[in-house]
């Protein structure tokens, strides 16, 4: 199945890209996505994604891993936010 992964702000810098389509076996989980990303992203990117202050959104809803993935899901990695 296909999953779209998005990286924002400092995590885009760390990943070296803003969006990546990842092909995973059926019944994949967040952990299988992280394993796939380890091979697809530049060195050091995974450490940045795993930092304590990084939040994960599944289909634009903040979701605490671990979770299961489905075809067409959108997973986003969000560093600390600030607006205003």
């Amino acid at each position: 199945m296909k999953v779209e992964v998005r990286f924002f702000a400092s995590l885009r810098d760390a990943a070296g890209l803003d969006v990546r389509e990842v092909i995973l076996p059926d019944e994949a989980s967040f952990d299988s996505l992280m394993n796939a990303l380890e091979h697809e992203l530049q060195a050091g990117a995974l450490d940045a994604l795993r930092a304590d202050n990084v939040r994960v959104a599944l289909n634009q809803e903040l979701t605490q891993p671990p979770f299961e993935l489905a075809e067409g899901d959108e997973v986003a990695f969000l560093p600390p936010v600030t607006g205003g």
Binding site: A76, L78, G83
Partner: protein, 158 residues
């Protein structure tokens, strides 16, 4: 209650938003409070370093919903009649307008408080990221300890 949330690159006019709110409100509101945030020319935390630009990034869809949640929380706390939040994204130079929060109520205390509450939550909860550009490079900005403290105060924390 009328609520309007816009995330946009283009600038906004406080006069136009205030005028539109007055048309909507007629004579039912006794108070309209507006807050405008501007880009400062000094880097936060380092007084002697000039900021050349502030680049704001968002997550289309999720960002708007994060602001809607903040406005809904404010509407649950105060009797608001009309709330407008306009937040700009993209590259903004010093003195540019970043954000407008406008709240109308029957009485001023609710309008003032809602503006402050919404701004405090925009600082810590809204899905935006800011990169400060200066002569020496760029860095990502995070909410300050004071920003987080102010939100904690709204929840009765210390």
């Amino acid at each position: 209650m009328h609520r309007e949330i816009r995330v946009q690159e283009q600038d906004f006019s406080v006069a136009a938003e205030y005028g539109a709110a007055r048309e909507r409100l007629g004579a039912c509101a006794g108070a309209v409070a507006s807050f405008v945030g501007l880009v400062r020319d000094l880097r936060s935390g380092a007084a002697d370093e000039a900021v050349e630009a502030l680049c704001l990034e968002h997550y289309p869809g999720m960002t708007e919903r994060s602001i809607e949640a903040i406005v809904a929380e404010a509407a649950g706390r105060w009797p608001l009649l009309d709330v407008v939040v306009i937040h700009r994204v993209g590259r903004l130079e010093p003195a540019a307008q970043i954000v407008l929060v406008q709240a109308a109520s029957a009485h001023r205390s609710a309008a003032f408080a809602a503006c402050e509450f919404i701004m405090d939550y925009l600082k810590t909860e809204a899905v935006f990221w800011k990169r400060e550009e200066s002569r020496d490079g760029a860095r990502w900005v995070e909410a300050t300890a004071e920003d987080r403290h102010r939100v904690s105060d709204w929840n009765g924390g210390g």
